[in-house]
Symmetry: C2
Subunit: 176 residues, 2 copies
Amino acid sequence: MRAVAGELGVEAMSLYRHVDSKEALLDGVAEQLMGEIEPRGVSSDWAEAVRGFASSVRGLAREHPQAFTLLGMRALASASALQPVEDLLASLRAGGFTPARAVAAYRAVAAFTRGYALSEVAGFALDEGSLGADTLGDRFPTIRALSRHLASEPNQGSFRAGIELIISGLSAERER
Amino acid sequence: MRAVAGELGVEAMSLYRHVDSKEALLDGVAEQLMGEIEPRGVSSDWAEAVRGFASSVRGLAREHPQAFTLLGMRALASASALQPVEDLLASLRAGGFTPARAVAAYRAVAAFTRGYALSEVAGFALDEGSLGADTLGDRFPTIRALSRHLASEPNQGSFRAGIELIISGLSAERER
DNA sequence: ACCTGAACACCGTTCAAGT
DNA sequence: ACCTGAACACCGTTCAAGT
């Protein structure tokens, strides 16, 4: 609070005229962050809407890695934070998903995206350097054998592959 | 630190004999938490290994919701935290995934699981009560229409559905 | 209405000193 | 080797008082 106030050229106590507590202020930051996602409207292609939602959220994480952490364990319910959710759900419904399946699809996409973005911000950190190579070889032969792949930069590819996996699963489900 | 020390019947400064800082202590808690997952060994059924990994991690979140938050933004690399990862990767390799595809599959599963568990701990909070019903109806018609489904308790079903989606996507990919 | 001084009850951490 | 007293430089927050 003191730092924020300092940035505004004011004393810490002044902030309490405008927010109830530090936690409420951080809630506001998180909502503001989600509000940065530019609305895409309802897409006629549900898979494209999934890709758009996911890459928008990941973009937030890359632009504001510190603040993104706040989204990790907060349930947002402000108007600005809900627009992207509305658009995605509407696209899924328009794409032929039943209400129950649209919600399930949304949750799967949101969970993957949130988890991936947080992992990326934290650093995946399974490269060979971060462990004693000896115990690694003995106890974790597979991790050792795959260390080259695990160490590769968390890149666009690995993220895209994940959402395509989910989209592929959703397509299969939709056809049944 | 003062609270932890109190729990141990000791003064706060004593802890610094054993840990470098509060952050290091929290790293230790996170690693201990992951270490609570009982090893399942290498499964001959990769899909079953995916289900086991995912439900183990989610079980952690439900048993220790507060501590689980620590996993949200930490990259773990301790031996105890790596055993479940080793087992899953080994099962995927044994199941016929190439090194690159096994790593991609692991990342997708881990990201979804982490994201879902964190959302569940935070509370999904998209029920009708958490928003002014008026603005909801006007600006977010789809959320409003789906509010009954969105409000439903984050249950076993919604989680299972998500991993089955990923497993289904992985199966399709594996066959290509 | 908005800001501030002074104060309260805390933090994590260091360091010299104790046993 | 392990613990502690005292102290430092901080926190978030309240409240009466200022303009």
